[in-house]
């Protein structure tokens, strides 16, 4: 090395030191979690259109009762009034209602995708790909992966899928790790064996996948050991989705800015129940988990947005088995510390026989890509150009939620 080169390197040194220090500094990082309710949940019993007498005619056995004005001994089975039109399922009284009253939750009814197949798999695929319908689909390009790619451009971005398999929504150009948090135990493959196995893959196309898999596993186990310490101190034992949601919060606070989780069990064709019963139990668990997530995010809840989606809605009328069948429009939830919530937003129509789509379902009036696109653009300060890479050809709409 000659002097000129040496000088050049010496001069470059302080600048690069500075840059790495800046990168390491903690910063308020915007985060987003997408929750996918697989199986199409019955949104009309979550967000109850209680002002519609047609709702009560259409659901003689499974409707949720109108809000109870008697504040001394309110009917526990009545829905919780959110405004003059909509009420919330009573099982969410202690979880989602307080967040709604704080203005941290908004609901968007008549939301969804224009796909009309009414097939779970078909429509889940369409949603996760987020591409133009009725065109050649690219199954290697999900919209969260495209978002991760856009976010990964200038700054550090860390996406993760909290699932056993990498879902379609996260497949694509950017490598995204996945890890289900239901049962995180001590791994069978120890650190030495992991190292030897990773070494076998050094020169193969799977090298990064394998090392990322072990890396994320170790990181998660390290983070969750803190959780176990805390849990033993305040002796709360969460289970099911609530436990998962708390773990997700722990990881998203510390390490990840873009997350995905799916929750199954919503395909209620038979005996779905009303104020109590199967669907009520599922909604209660979901609500409790989301409230736990909000709480566990702590001060970072301010920078976090959660969106809850499902592939389609269900029929407005109950079927002969006291359940509901595959429908069309759904209700999306938007939660977050900075969400301008406490309201039901988006285009709406009155719910009577004349306004049902094909005389059976909620219409889709708030197309999910323009809704999600608007949220992403605000949350991550993305340009129109960048949003066009996430949802090509879709005009992101600002619902004023962020």
């Amino acid at each position: 090395m000659d002097r000129r080169h040496l000088l050049k390197h010496t001069l470059a040194l302080p600048a690069s030191c500075l840059a790495s220090r800046l990168m390491a500094a903690p910063m308020a990082q915007p985060r987003m979690l997408l929750v996918f309710l697989r199986g199409a949940y019955d949104c009309a019993n979550l967000l109850v259109p209680y002002s519609s007498s047609f709702y009560y005619e259409s659901r003689p056995n499974i409707a949720i009762a109108r809000p109870d004005a008697d504040s001394d001994s309110p009917n526990p089975a009545a829905c919780l009034s959110l405004d003059a039109t909509w009420g919330l399922h009573p099982v969410l009284r202690d979880s989602i209602l307080p967040l709604f009253l704080k203005g941290e939750v908004a609901f968007v009814p008549f939301a969804g995708i224009n796909d009309l197949s009414r097939s779970h798999f078909e429509t889940q695929d369409s949603i996760e790909l987020g591409q133009t319908l009725h065109q050649q689909r690219n199954f290697r390009s999900g919209f969260l992966n495209r978002l991760a790619t856009v976010l990964g451009g200038p700054g550090p971005s860390r996406p993760i899928s909290f699932t056993d398999h990498l879902p379609l929504v996260f497949r694509g150009h950017t490598q995204v790790p996945n890890l289900a948090l239901k049962n995180v135990g001590k791994p069978g493959v120890d650190a030495r064996q992991a190292q030897i196995i990773a070494a076998m893959y050094r020169d193969t196309p799977l090298a990064r996948t394998v090392s990322e898999g072990f890396g994320v596993r170790d990181e998660v186990i390290r983070s969750l050991s803190i959780e176990m310490d805390q849990a033993s101190r305040n002796a709360i034992s969460a289970k099911g989705f609530e436990l998962e949601a708390r773990r997700i919060a722990l990881l998203m606070r510390e390490k990840f800015n873009l997350g995905f989780i799916d929750v199954g069990g919503w395909d209620t064709h038979v005996a779905q129940g009303g104020a109590t019963g199967y669907l009520a139990t599922r909604l209660e668990e979901l609500g409790r988990g989301l409230a736990a997530f909000a709480q566990a995010m702590g001060p970072d809840w301010r920078d976090t947005t959660v969106v809850v989606v499902s592939e389609f809605g269900r029929t407005f009328r109950e079927n002969g088995n006291r359940g509901t069948d595959h429908g069309h429009g759904s209700v999306f939830w938007v939660l977050g510390g900075s969400v301008k919530g406490g309201r039901v937003v988006g285009e709406q129509v009155p719910l009577d026989a004349a306004h049902l789509f094909q005389n059976r379902d909620y219409p889709v009036m708030n197309e999910y890509r323009s809704l999600l696109g608007g949220l992403m653009a605000r949350q991550f300060s993305l340009s129109t150009n960048q949003m066009d890479q996430v949802f090509p050809g879709v005009l992101a709409q600002d619902y004023g939620l962020l």
Partner: protein
Amino acid sequence: MTSDAWASPGQMTTRFEIAKAIGSGNAGLFKTDPAAAPSAVVLPQMATLMRNAELQTMIGPRTREALEQAKTPQEWNTFLIASPDFMNR
């Protein structure tokens, strides 16, 4: 199905866990008599397969390096099943 459907980081880690379960005999796959005690089950010594010259040529140098570091027959089996040679058709 294409490889990106199964070759995500989480799924690869799961594959290695399964490789260990099979390789160390914990999965109980080699019980011929369901009543037999776990200790009585004979673990396949996959290392003996390596005497087969044809098989040797099918294993890459990286895999061979890993196999040399195995401390027990169980570990040897685990590394072989977890190897890239075993992942791809």
